[in-house]
């Protein structure tokens, strides 16, 4: 079935079953591999993207549910690693293996949208869907606070 999607502001037409998870359409059909597969059941956050500005697990979102909406992936967060979260992530040397970090950054971006100056409790609430097997949580927390500062100038 032919579906048209808007990903990072660009329109893509793909031929897939409508129940296909958005994650695999992004990765296999469109070639945007920054969004990662970790669990497939909404339990790790590696696949986090934004749909109409709201955080979503792309592994558990049918592609048909994204039709007519704006999907943003890590590749679309900024053109040049310049989003305040990316700047802060680099400043704090957050990533280790890096595999979870696209999802972490997208979750953090949704958090900052809702709470531009999040408390530690807000960070606990907003970031606990995301597993980091490398244990970078403390640096993620620090980087989110730092990004909030950068964003507020």
């Amino acid at each position: 079935m032919s579906l048209t999607l808007t990903i990072n502001g660009t329109s893509h037409t793909v031929d897939v079953e409508p129940e296909t998870p958005l994650l695999w359409v992004l990765r296999d059909n469109i070639g945007l591999t920054g969004t990662k597969y970790g669990c497939g059941i909404s339990k790790c956050g590696a696949c986090t993207v934004h749909i109409d500005g709201r955080k979503a697990f792309s592994c558990s979102t049918k592609v048909s549910a994204a039709v007519g909406k704006e999907v943003t992936t890590i590749e679309g967060l900024s053109d040049d690693n310049s989003h305040p979260l990316q700047v802060a992530w680099i400043e704090e040397d957050v990533p280790q293996c890096g595999y979870c970090q696209s999802g972490q950054i997208m979750a953090a971006a949704a958090l900052l949208e809702a709470r531009p100056d999040p408390s530690d409790l807000d960070i606990d609430a907003g970031m606990s869907d995301n597993i980091c097997r490398c244990g970078t949580y403390a640096r993620i927390r620090k980087a989110i606070h730092r990004a909030a500062e950068i964003a507020q100038g």
Partner: protein
């Protein structure tokens, strides 16, 4: 488009650059899936000159340093280039890192200057150590990487000296500029001449007091690629004409696929074909539990479905009817395995024990004592649960195999592909990528053999990915281990004898039985036998192996990961029996001058160690040595009346001798503590009907942001000749620090992990 040409000439590589982006692991523009591949990493850039196998210098002074270790988060893409650059004295802002080429490595021996310098044996392979494990990246490659930099620097100086008609000793080299008197030139200008120079003798490498780059926390080279989605992991590899494979093997290791009905799914969209794997199917080495070679990475019996996208392959695989045979292991459970081990543990006269330590007459002294302490501890099977599920991409043709995989063991993967395809070693090219964690799991190449077999059967590029469930069911687990300790105290409450028995599933017995010595697995005994931190006038340690059909493997910090829990818990129990402070008591058991004292003293001071806390609050201590590094930790926990545990802080003191990048060390301490704490709180793989139960993150639980303690790392460096690893040694002390703190807070002693199976109320 000619796939063959692309595959021959261009490869996706993981690479990173200080300047950012230059040699960046590629970014795939939408709709142009194959166009963004990189040149082969070992090919010089435009006009670049290879000065030696480790480094290439471009005319603009960009220095490309080849990395022989695998980047899985520990930072080797930064640390390894720093070791070379320290001696090369190049401009660090123009350094980029790429993987060394394993094909070239297996085909050539080390360069002669390395042998002349005493940094290699003639028979060593080109890149010497190309497998990553044992926290060995810095400590085991340090000398030859320094040498590669120093020998190249002296050649550059000699080339300039020749051109300028001066002595080499008159030439200085700094920040990629050579100078003598009023002459100067760049490394880029002299690289070609330097490559042809032979020196009468190779330069000596620096001593730590001469370091100028090492010791600085420079930004990691890989970070920018890991914040914009451009870093390429094995699972991200895309090739022209590539298809996708999903696999399912017998959930019971050693079991068998009886039948499958491909006809039921073959007409589904995108489905191409299916293969039986292992026994009776494709693959040269079927899994057999009774033969070491076959169980090491042989193909488990199962089936692969190939389709045009991964999701179509996976869906067809899941819908396809299959029938399994448990191969005689269908009634095995973790309970039955551990019960069998506990039976041996309860019988000190069991004939399968082998003595590891026998000093004095511990058994006799304890037997005659009226004041003795005894305890039994149990640690479970654990899975690595790598963040990136296992995967591998293979393109196998009649005269060449290309394999893309994030692996800790490129030469091992290379061997497996040679064996599986029947191609000559020079026809096999393994391309490493970034690893979405490894933790010891990505050492075995079992996934590589699967993909190579599927790729050979198909003859076109295929990416094989394990679903998370498959990843967990094909786990190669951290062994279980059970422990019994007995000790006696004299009239002054001083320990006089100590007797420890250990029964475990042995990794060596499973994978490399020739490494067993007198029936002892020294990894399984790590920290309990020769390097026990504590002295007892009489001491006996015995070890027995009890395996099962479950495949086992190295898991971050290996034997120490669990031995420290048992040992440090028992020492705590002894301290309490003796009415002593747990830190004082430990120091009292260490001889003067013991290396273990400093980290323990540092952590106690920094944590503000005290036993004077309210009920519901506790501090606990844990201490362990692994891979040449000693780590001591103090956990501070609170336990509510209803039994809710919170690990508030963990102080961590580390003595790894020297530090080349302080922030990388801190990051590894934090990472290891989260890893160890996750296991202590939640880690347990159950076996039911012969198969792994926990197959995803809904049942195999991970520590998350809201449970994260504050971690404070303190350096307790002894310097000198000590160069310890840092990727693993902070894992072992976490569990006992926390369970000892729980005891201090509640009076409840946890003798079996994980903590979550205990009621703390």
């Amino acid at each position: 488009m000619s796939t063959m040409k692309l595959n021959r000439r261009k490869f996706i590589v993981a690479s990173a650059s200080a300047a950012g982006g230059l040699m960046l692991a590629f970014r795939i523009p939408a709709g142009a899936r194959a166009d963004a591949m990189m040149e082969e990493p070992w090919m010089a850039g435009e006009g670049g000159q290879e000065v030696n196998a480790w480094l290439v210098i471009d005319p603009d002074d960009t220095v490309t340093i080849r990395v022989g270790q695998s980047e899985m988060g520990e930072g080797v893409f930064t640390a390894m280039p720093m070791l070379v650059a320290e001696e090369l004295q190049c401009d660090w802002s123009k350094v980029r890192a790429v993987y060394a080429d394993v094909n070239r490595h297996v085909q050539s021996t080390v360069e002669p200057y390395m042998v002349a310098a005493g940094a290699a044996k003639e028979t060593d392979q080109l890149y010497q150590r190309m497998a990553t494990g044992g926290s060995g990246a810095v400590r085991r490659s340090r000398k030859y990487l320094h040498q590669a930099g120093a020998s190249a620097r002296e050649r550059l100086k000699q080339a300039a000296a020749n051109a300028w008609g001066v002595e080499r000793s008159a030439v200085t080299a700094a920040d990629s500029v050579l100078r003598a008197g009023n002459k100067s030139g760049t490394y880029g200008e002299f690289a070609a001449a330097a490559a042809t120079i032979e020196l009468e003798s190779e330069p000596a490498i620096k001593t730590p007091d001469q370091f100028t780059l090492l010791g600085k926390s420079v930004p990691r080279l890989d970070t920018p690629h890991k914040t914009d989605g451009s870093a390429v992991y094995g699972i991200d590899v895309q090739l022209p004409d590539m298809v996708h494979a999903a696999v399912e093997v017998s959930p019971v290791p050693g079991g068998r696929l009886v039948s499958f009905d491909f006809d039921a799914v073959k007409d589904r969209p995108g489905v191409i074909t299916a293969f039986r794997l292992g026994e009776g199917g494709i693959g040269k080495l079927p899994y057999r539990l009774d033969e070491v070679a076959n169980r090491t990475n042989g193909l488990l019996s199962g089936v692969a479905v190939v389709a045009d996208t991964y999701y179509r392959a996976l869906t067809a695989l899941q819908l396809m009817p299959k029938e399994w045979d448990a191969g005689g292991h269908g009634d095995v459970s973790d309970e039955s395995i551990i019960a069998g081990a506990l039976e041996v543990l309860g019988n000190p006269d069991d004939a399968t024990y082998n003595p590891a330590v026998s000093e004095g007459d511990a058994r006799g002294v304890i037997g005659a004592s009226a004041d003795k302490v005894e305890a039994t501890y149990v640690t479970p099977y654990l899975d690595h649960a790598c963040m990136e599920p296992m995967n591998c991409t293979a393109h196998v043709t009649a005269d060449r195999a290309d394999i893309w995989v994030g692996t800790q063991n490129p030469p091992g993967a290379h061997d497996v592909v040679v064996e599986e395809t029947g191609l000559a070693p020079e026809q096999v090219h393994v391309h490493n990528t970034f690893l979405g964690t490894g933790f010891g799991r990505r050492f075995r190449s079992d996934e590589v053999r699967q993909a190579a077999a599927i790729g050979a059967a198909l003859g076109r590029p295929v990416k094989m990915v394990w679903s998370r469930e498959e990843n967990q069911r094909q786990g190669k687990l951290r062994p279980y281990s059970v422990y019994h300790f007995a000790a006696s105290l004299d009239a002054d409450k001083k320990p006089e004898a100590y007797w420890n028995r250990v029964v475990s599933h042995s990794i060596f017995n499973h994978l490399i039985p020739q490494f067993l010595k007198d029936g002892l697995d020294n990894q399984a005994m790590e920290g309990l036998d020769q390097r026990l931190p504590y002295r007892f006038p009489n001491r006996q340690v015995d070890y027995a192996i009890r395996d099962s059909h479950i495949p086992v493997q190295w898991w971050r910090s290996v034997g120490a990961s669990q031995n420290a829990f048992a040992l440090e818990s028992f020492i705590d129990e002894l301290a309490h029996a003796a009415g002593a402070d747990p830190v004082e008591f430990r120091l009292g058991l260490m001889p003067e001058g013991s290396e273990f004292r400093r980290p323990l003293e540092v952590v106690a001071k920094e944590a503000g160690w005290t036993t004077d806390l309210r009920r519901g609050e506790g501090m606990g201590v844990g201490l362990a040595e692994a891979f040449g590094t000693i780590v001591a930790q103090v956990a501070y926990v609170t336990v509510s009346r209803r039994g809710q545990l919170r690990v508030e802080t963990i102080d961590c003191a580390v003595d790894c001798g020297h530090v080349i990048h302080p922030r990388l060390v801190e990051m590894q301490m934090e990472s290891s503590i989260v890893y160890g704490l996750t296991a202590a709180l939640y880690g347990e793989v159950h076996i039911r009907n012969g198969a792994v139960v926990e197959d995803n993150f809904d049942s195999y639980l991970m520590l998350r942001m809201n449970e994260m303690p504050e971690i404070r790392t303190h350096m307790a460096l002894s310097g000198g000749e000590k160069w310890g690893g840092v990727g693993e040694p902070a894992v072992p002390p976490v569990a006992p620090a926390v369970t000892n703190a729980i005891f201090a807070a509640t009076g409840k002693r946890i003798r079996r992990l994980p903590i979550r199976s205990h009621d703390l109320a």
